[in-house]
Amino acid sequence: MSSGPSLIRSVKEIPPIDYYTSGHRTCAGCGAALIYRLVTKAAGPNTILIGPTGCMYVANSHQFLTSPYAVPWYHTQLGAGGAAGIGIAAALRALMVKGKRKPEDINIIVFGGDGGFADIGFSGLSMALTYDYPRLLYLLYDNESYANTGIQASSTTPWGATTTFTPSGKVKRIGNERYKKNMALLAAAHPKIKYVATATIYPPLDLMNKVIKALNSGGPSFIHVLTPCPKGWFYAPHETYELARLAVETGMWVLWEYSEGKFKLNYKPRPRKHVKEYLRRQGRFAHLTDEEIDMIDKMVEEEWKYWLESDKLGKIILPW
C-alpha cells in the first residue's frame, strides 16, 4: 500500500476553508493572488508563509494595515527568501529537538517572485535547497517581470516580450532579447533534492496536489508556477485562467515533476496548439511578426522532443 500523502482527487474535495482571504488589494485578475489562495488551501492551517518583496508583498498588505493571511506571515527582503525559510526551519528544528517547543509538523512556504528567486535571491535559494529541512517549500510565482515596480524584465522574462526596461523601439525592435531561465531545471540540479515541479493555475488540482507532494517529500522542495499577469502581459483581467490554459496547451509551459530523482511529464498536449494562440492574446508580444512567432513555435516543437524523451527515460535531459 502506498504511504504517500492524500491528494485532492476532484474539485469537490478542495477544502472549503481559506487561509488567504479578504484584505488584499491585488489587481483584478491577479494570477498570483489565485495561486496564494489555492496553495494555502492545500497546505492547511499549520503553515508559515514568507513573502519576499514583490507584488505579493506590496499588494497584499499595503495602505490600511490589513492582512489577508489567516496563518503566520512574515515579510523578508527581496534577496532573502532562501535564507528566511532556512532560518525558520532551523529554529523550529532546534526548539523541538531541545525540548523548547512541542514537536509538530509545520509547513514553511516561501512565496518568491521571479526577481526574488531567479535574480537577486538565486544564491540564497540554491543554498536552501542543499539542506535537509522537511516541509520547506520554495514556490516561485513567475509573472515574468518585476511587475509591482511597473514591469521590468527579469531573467525569466520570455524572448520578445516588451517591458519598461526592454521596450520594443525603432532600432531595438524585439524587446527582451534574453531567453527565459528555467528555474525548475536549476532546482533539480541540487543532488538529492526531494521534489521539484512546474505548475500554473491550470489545472488547479495539479498545482494543489504538487504543493501537497512537495510538503510531504521529506526535504526542501521547489515549484515553479507560471503566473499570468494582466498588468504586465497586457490582456483583459478575466482571461487569466484562459492564458494559463493556453500556456500549457501550446506547450510553452511544460508541466512536469521530479520526485526522488524520477522525472515525469504531467501533461502532453495532443495535438499541441500553435504558440500564436497564446502569444497573440498578449499585448507584450504585439510587435512580433508572424515569422518571429513561427520561430518561437519551432523552438518549442524542438524542445518538446527532449521533454518527451525525458518522460520516457524518467530522467532529465536538457531540452536545448
Partner: protein, 412 residues
C-alpha cells in the same frame, strides 16, 4: 576491602582561569547562553569564532543548528527569521562581509528582532587589507542595533552574555552586537574566568519573544507594507524609545551580572586617573590597554592626564560623557574609523563625542587622532597624541582637528 574509607575531598568553589583567544571565549559564551541557531560565513578575522563553535557542536558539547550560509546577507537573514520564530541565535562578520549584510542587519534592527552577534572589526576593501579599522561597525550606527565594545577577552565573553540579556528584554527587543577589535582581540589569548553554567542560567532567563512567527501564536502578520500616513513615524519611535530604555536595562543587567557572576564593570564608561585630570585620551576597545599603559607612565612624570573608555556606542552615553569630562581642558579622541569629507575631516567617533559635548556647560577642546588603513599604532603614537593634547590645553592653536599619526609622508 580496605578498612580505610576514602575521605571525600573538600571542594572549594574557586574560579578557574582558562587561556583563551577572543574567538574561543566568544564561542564559550555562545555555548553558555544555550544558543539554538547559528549562521556562519567565512571572513577574517571573525571566522575563528565560528570555527570554534562548529567544533563544539561537532563534538556534542552543545546542541544547536549551525547553518553554513551562501553569503553574509543570507547569514543575517537566517538568524533574523530564526529569532522571530523563537530561537536564540548567534551571528557575526567582519569588514566588507559585514557590509554585504547591511540590508539584513537594517531590517533586523527596524523590525525589532533581538539577534545577538559579534563584529570582528576589519579594514575595508579596496585594496584588501587584514588590518583593523572601525568603519565596518561604525556604519551600522543607523540600524537600530545596540553596539558594545570590549577591552579584553574577559570583557568580550561577559559582554556577549549581557548582550543576550539586554537585547531580549521586552523593554528593548532590539538586536545587539559586540565589536571585537580585529586581531587585537579576536586572535590574542588571555586568561579568562568563564562563569559557570549555573551562574549564566540564573543571570540569563530563556528567550521569550512577545509573539513568534509560529502557528502556535496565531496568525501573526509581521512587517507588512505600510502607509506612511498611518504608522510611519510611530514605528520608528518605538525603536527610539527602545534605545532610551536600553540605558536603564544595561545598568540593571551589569548590576545583575556582578551579583551572579561576581565581576563588576561600570556600565557605560570606564575612566582611569580622571579624578584630577586636566587632559584625557578617549577611545574604545583593545588599544585602551596600550593607551592606559602610556598614560600611567605620563602620570608618573607628573602629567595630569586620564583615560576615558566608552563601552557602548549605541545607545551612546552622552550625559555620562559630559559628566566625566566636565572640568577637563582638552581631550584627544583615538579612533580607527573614517568618514571622508566629514566636518573638519574628522572620524566618526569624534563626531559622536563632539555632538555629546556640545551640550556641556564647559566644553573641553578636542583633537582627533586617526589610525587608518590597518597600520598598528605603537605606544609612541599615543605618547605623541597625549603631548599634542597637553599643548592644546595650554593654549596652542592647531591648524587641523584630525591628525594621522601613523601616516608616512606629509599629513596634509
Amino acid at each position: 576491602m580496605s578498612a580505610v574509607r576514602p575521605v571525600p575531598p573538600i571542594t572549594i568553589e574557586k574560579p578557574v582561569a582558562k587561556v583563551w583567544t577572543g574567538a574561543r571565549a566568544i564561542a564559550e559564551a555562545v555555548k553558555l547562553a544555550d544558543v539554538d541557531v547559528i549562521a556562519a560565513y567565512p571572513i577574517r578575522p571573525y571566522t575563528g569564532i565560528m570555527n570554534a563553535i562548529a567544533a563544539m557542536i561537532a563534538d556534542g558539547e552543545f546542541q544547536a543548528e549551525i547553518i553554513v550560509a551562501d553569503s553574509e546577507h543570507s547569514q543575517f537573514e537566517v538568524v533574523k527569521h530564526a529569532a522571530a520564530t523563537g530561537a536564540r541565535v548567534f551571528v557575526g562578520s567582519s569588514g566588507v562581509g559585514l557590509m554585504y549584510a547591511y540590508e539584513a542587519m537594517l531590517v533586523t534592527g527596524l523590525g525589532s528582532v533581538p539577534v545577538v552577534g559579534v563584529v570582528g572589526t576589519r579594514a575595508l576593501d579596496d585594496p584588501g587589507n587584514f588590518g583593523m579599522e572601525w568603519t565596518d561597525a561604525f556604519t551600522t550606527r543607523y540600524f537600530g542595533w545596540l553596539i558594545s565594545w570590549p577591552r579584553d577577552v574577559q570583557e568580550a565573553l561577559d559582554m556577549v552574555l549581557v548582550a543576550y540579556r539586554v537585547a531580549e528584554d521586552h523593554r528593548v527587543l532590539q538586536p545587539h552586537f559586540v565589536a571585537l577589535d580585529g586581531a587585537a582581540l579576536t586572535h590574542v589569548a588571555m586568561p579568562v574566568y568563564p562563569p559557570t553554567k549555573k551562574q549564566v542560567t540564573e543571570f540569563l532567563p530563556p528567550y521569550r519573544p512577545p509573539y513568534r512567527i509560529d502557528p502556535m501564536d496565531g496568525p501573526v502578520t509581521k512587517a507588512q507594507h505600510i502607509a506612511p500616513s498611518l504608522i510611519g513615524p510611530e514605528q520608528r519611535k518605538r525603536i527610539d524609545v527602545a534605545m532610551l530604555k536600553a540605558k536603564e536595562v544595561i545598568i540593571e543587567a551589569w548590576k545583575d551580572y556582578a551579583r551572579y557572576v561576581g565581576r563588576e564593570y561600570p556600565p557605560f564608561i570606564e575612566t582611569k586617573w580622571m579624578d584630577d585630570a586636566e587632559i584625557a585620551l578617549l577611545s574604545m576597545g583593545a588599544y585602551m590597554k596600550d593607551i592606559e599603559l602610556v598614560v600611567s607612565k605620563l602620570r608618573e612624570k607628573g602629567l595630569k592626564i586620564g583615560t576615558v573608555r566608552l563601552r557602548y556606542l549605541r545607545p551612546f552615553p552622552a550625559e555620562e560623557l559630559v559628566k566625566v569630562l566636565s572640568g577637563v581642558k582638552a581631550v584627544g579622541v583615538i579612533e580607527f574609523g573614517f568618514s571622508f569629507g566629514s566636518p573638519y575631516r574628522t572620524g566618526p567617533l569624534y563626531h559622536e563625542v563632539a555632538t555629546a559635548l556640545y551640550e556641556a556647560d564647559e566644553r573641553p577642546k578636542l583633537l582627533d587622532f586617526l589610525f587608518l588603513g590597518g597600520r598598528e599604532p605603537k605606544p609612541e603614537h599615543f605618547i605623541k597624541a597625549a603631548e599634542m593634547v597637553n599643548e592644546l590645553a595650554k593654549g596652542k592653536t592647531f591648524e587641523k582637528k584630525a591628525y594621522w599619526l601613523t601616516l608616512r609622508g606629509e599629513d596634509i
